[in-house]
C-alpha cells in the first residue's frame, strides 16, 4: 500500500517536473484561479445569503418572493 502511494506520488512529481509546454498552461490555470477566487469571488461576488442561518435564509427569500409579487402588481 505504502509503495503504491509512493509510486503514484512519484508519477505526478515526475510528470510535473518533466513538463515543457505544459508548464505554460499550468501558469495560465494558476493565474485564472487567482483572478477567480482572490479577486472576483472575494471582492465582487459575495453571496447575498452568506452569514445568514438556514432559517434566516428561508425567511429572507420568503419575504423577497412575496414582496416581488407586490412590486409587480403595484
Amino acid at each position: 500500500m505504502k509503495n503504491a502511494i509512493i509510486s503514484i506520488w512519484n508519477f505526478y512529481v515526475d510528470g510535473f517536473r518533466n513538463m515543457t509546454w505544459g508548464r505554460q498552461l499550468w501558469w495560465l490555470i494558476l493565474l485564472k484561479v487567482i483572478i477567480l477566487f482572490a479577486v472576483l469571488r472575494a471582492f465582487f461576488f459575495t453571496p447575498v445569503l452568506s452569514g445568514k442561518s438556514e432559517e434566516e435564509r428561508s425567511e429572507y427569500i420568503g419575504e423577497q418572493l412575496i414582496e416581488t409579487q407586490n412590486r409587480v402588481h403595484e
Binding site: 505526478y12 505554460q24 483572478i35 453571496p47 435564509r57 427569500i61 418572493l65 409587480v72
Partner: protein
C-alpha cells in the same frame, strides 16, 4: 415595479459567461473522441505515426482545456450573488447534480488526464488508451450533471415545494436524472461536441494542406475527424428530433416562438425563412404525425383544446391561479405559528395551485412570449449551419477517399473558414434553448424577474465589463497559444 435594468444586466452577464464557457466545452467533448480514436488505431496497428498524430491533437485539447477550466465556476458565483432567490428556491435539486459533477470531474480528470499526459512512457499501451477514453467519458459525464440541472429548469420533475424552507426538495432522484428533456439534451449537446471537434480538426488539417505541410498527418486526421463528425451530426439530428417532441410537449411557447407561429393547428407548416413554408412539416417534427396539432403563440395565450379534447387554460387563468398560489404561500407563512388550522387550509390552496406559482408574478400576457425574432433566427442559424457542415464533412471525406482533396483548394479553404460556423451553430442552439424559455427561469414556477437578487444595477454592470475584459484576454491568450502550437505542427516533440 421590478427594476428591469437589473434583470436585463443580470441576464446579459449570465449569457456572456455561459456563452464563453460553451466555447471550450464542445471542443473538449469532441476532440476527446477524435484523439482517443486515433490512439486506438495506434494501439491496434502499432504504427508510431498514429501515436504522434494523437499526441498533437492532445496538445491542442490540453490548451483548450486549460483555458476553459473553471470558467463554469463563474456561473456559480453569479447564482449566489445575482440570482439568490433562484438559488435558494431550487434547493438541492440544482445543488446535488452540480456537487456530483464537481467531485466526479475532479477525480476523473486528476486521474485519467494525468495518465494521458504523463503516462506515455510509464504505463502500458492499453492502460494509457483506457485513460484517454476515460478522460473523454469523464468530460461527457460532467456534462450529464450540468444538463440534468438545466433540464430540470426546462421541465421540473421529481420534487416537491416546501413552504417552510421555501425550497424545492428532491423526492425522486431518478425522475430528475431520467427527465426526458435531460436525456435528449445531453445527447444533443454531446454529439454537437463531436461535430465541433471534427470541424476543428478538419479545418486545421486543411490549413496544413494549404501550406503544403504535414500531408499524411493532415489527410489521416481529416479521415478520422470527418467520420466522427458525420456520425456525430447524424446523432445530433436524431437527438434534435427527440428534443423537438419534448419541447412541443413541455414548452410549447418555445416551439411556437422558434417557428414564429402565431396561429397553430393541425398540419402546421415549418418556416424555412419568413414567407417560405413547408406545409405539415412542423406537425411531423413536433408530434411525428402530419395531422398532429401544434398550438401557436395566440392559442397558448388564449387557451386551447386539442383535437383529442385535452384542454389547456389561458394565460389569464394561469396568472390568476399563480396569484392565488403566492397569496396562499404568504398566508401560510403568516399563520403557521398562530393559527395552524388556517395555515393548513392555505397550504392546501398552495399545493393545488403550485404548478402556476410563477404566473403570479406576470402582469401582462405579452410577458409570456419570448423574443420571437431572436429565437426564430437562432434556430435557423443552428439548423442551417449544422446542415451545411454535414454536407462539408461528406464532401471532405469523399474527396479524401478519392485522393482529390489535395487538388481542391476551395474545399480546403471552405473547411478552414467553417471553424467559426460550428461555434456559431452551438451558441445559436443555446440561444434557442435559453432565450426560448423566457420569461421562465424555472418553467411555470419562477420567472426571471422574480429570480434576481436585490443588488444594485451598477454592481452587475461593473462585473459585466470586468468579465468582458477578462474573457477577451484569456480567449486571446488561448488563440495565441493554439496558433503557436499549430504552426509548430505535429513534428514537435510532445510530452
Amino acid at each position: 415595479m421590478i427594476e428591469s435594468a437589473l434583470v436585463d444586466w443580470s441576464r446579459l452577464q449570465f449569457a456572456l459567461t455561459a456563452g464563453y464557457h460553451w466555447i471550450f466545452v464542445p471542443l473538449t467533448l469532441g476532440l476527446a473522441v477524435i484523439m482517443a480514436t486515433m490512439e486506438t488505431i495506434y494501439v491496434i496497428k502499432g504504427d508510431e505515426f498514429w501515436k504522434k498524430t494523437a499526441k498533437f491533437w492532445m496538445k491542442l485539447f490540453a490548451i483548450n482545456f486549460a483555458v476553459g477550466i473553471a470558467t463554469g465556476i463563474i456561473l456559480e458565483f453569479e447564482f449566489g450573488t445575482n440570482w439568490s432567490n433562484y438559488s435558494w428556491f431550487v434547493g438541492d435539486i440544482f445543488g446535488a447534480p452540480l456537487a456530483i459533477e464537481g467531485i466526479f470531474a475532479f477525480f476523473m480528470e486528476a486521474t485519467f488526464f494525468a495518465v494521458m499526459f504523463f503516462g506515455w512512457e510509464k504505463v502500458g499501451k492499453r492502460f494509457h488508451l483506457a485513460s484517454t477514453w476515460f478522460t473523454g467519458i469523464g468530460a461527457a459525464i460532467s456534462a450529464v450533471w450540468i444538463l440534468v440541472a438545466n433540464s430540470w429548469m426546462q421541465h421540473p420533475v421529481g420534487m416537491e415545494f416546501n413552504p417552510d424552507t421555501v425550497r424545492h426538495e428532491m423526492v425522486d432522484f431518478w425522475a430528475l436524472v431520467l427527465n426526458p428533456v435531460a436525456v435528449s439534451k445531453f445527447f444533443h449537446s454531446w454529439f454537437s461536441g463531436w461535430m465541433t471537434g471534427a470541424i476543428f480538426v478538419i479545418g486545421i488539417s486543411c490549413w496544413y494542406l494549404l501550406r503544403g505541410r504535414e500531408r499524411r498527418f493532415a489527410l489521416s486526421s481529416i479521415r478520422v475527424a470527418s467520420i466522427v463528425g458525420i456520425i456525430g451530426t447524424l446523432l445530433v439530428m436524431f437527438s434534435g428530433d427527440s428534443s423537438a417532441i419534448h419541447v412541443s410537449k413541455y414548452q410549447p411557447m418555445k416551439l411556437a416562438a422558434a417557428e414564429g407561429l402565431e396561429e397553430g393547428g393541425t398540419r402546421a407548416p415549418f418556416s424555412i425563412v419568413p414567407g417560405v413554408e413547408v406545409p405539415g412539416v412542423l406537425s411531423i417534427l413536433a408530434t411525428h404525425d402530419i395531422d398532429g396539432y401544434v398550438p401557436g403563440i395566440n392559442d397558448i395565450l388564449d387557451g386551447y383544446t386539442t383535437p383529442e379534447g385535452e384542454r389547456y387554460i389561458s394565460a389569464e387563468e394561469k396568472m390568476e391561479r399563480g396569484k392565488i398560489a403566492i397569496e396562499a404561500f404568504g398566508k401560510y407563512r403568516e399563520l403557521k405559528e398562530s393559527d395552524p388550522e388556517a395555515a393548513a387550509e392555505a397550504r392546501a390552496v398552495l399545493d393545488e395551485n403550485i404548478d402556476y406559482f410563477g404566473y403570479g408574478y406576470i402582469d401582462s400576457r405579452e410577458e409570456l412570449v419570448p423574443n420571437v425574432p431572436l429565437v426564430y433566427w437562432a434556430f435557423r442559424i443552428m439548423v442551417g449551419f449544422g446542415g451545411l457542415l454535414l454536407l462539408l464533412m461528406f464532401a471532405v471525406l469523399w474527396a479524401e477517399r478519392r485522393k482529390k482533396l489535395e487538388g481542391m483548394r476551395w474545399l480546403q479553404w471552405a473547411s478552414l473558414l467553417s471553424i467559426p460556423l460550428v461555434y456559431l451553430a452551438g451558441q445559436a442552439g443555446w440561444i434557442v434553448a435559453e432565450a426560448g424559455r423566457q420569461p421562465w427561469v424555472i418553467e411555470g414556477l419562477l420567472p426571471t424577474k422574480a429570480a434576481v437578487s436585490s443588488v444594485s444595477v451598477a454592481a452587475v454592470q461593473t462585473t459585466f465589463f470586468l468579465f468582458v475584459a477578462i474573457f477577451t484576454l484569456f480567449l486571446a491568450i488561448e488563440i495565441r497559444i493554439l496558433i503557436k502550437a499549430i504552426k509548430e505542427g505535429p513534428k514537435t516533440e510532445i510530452e
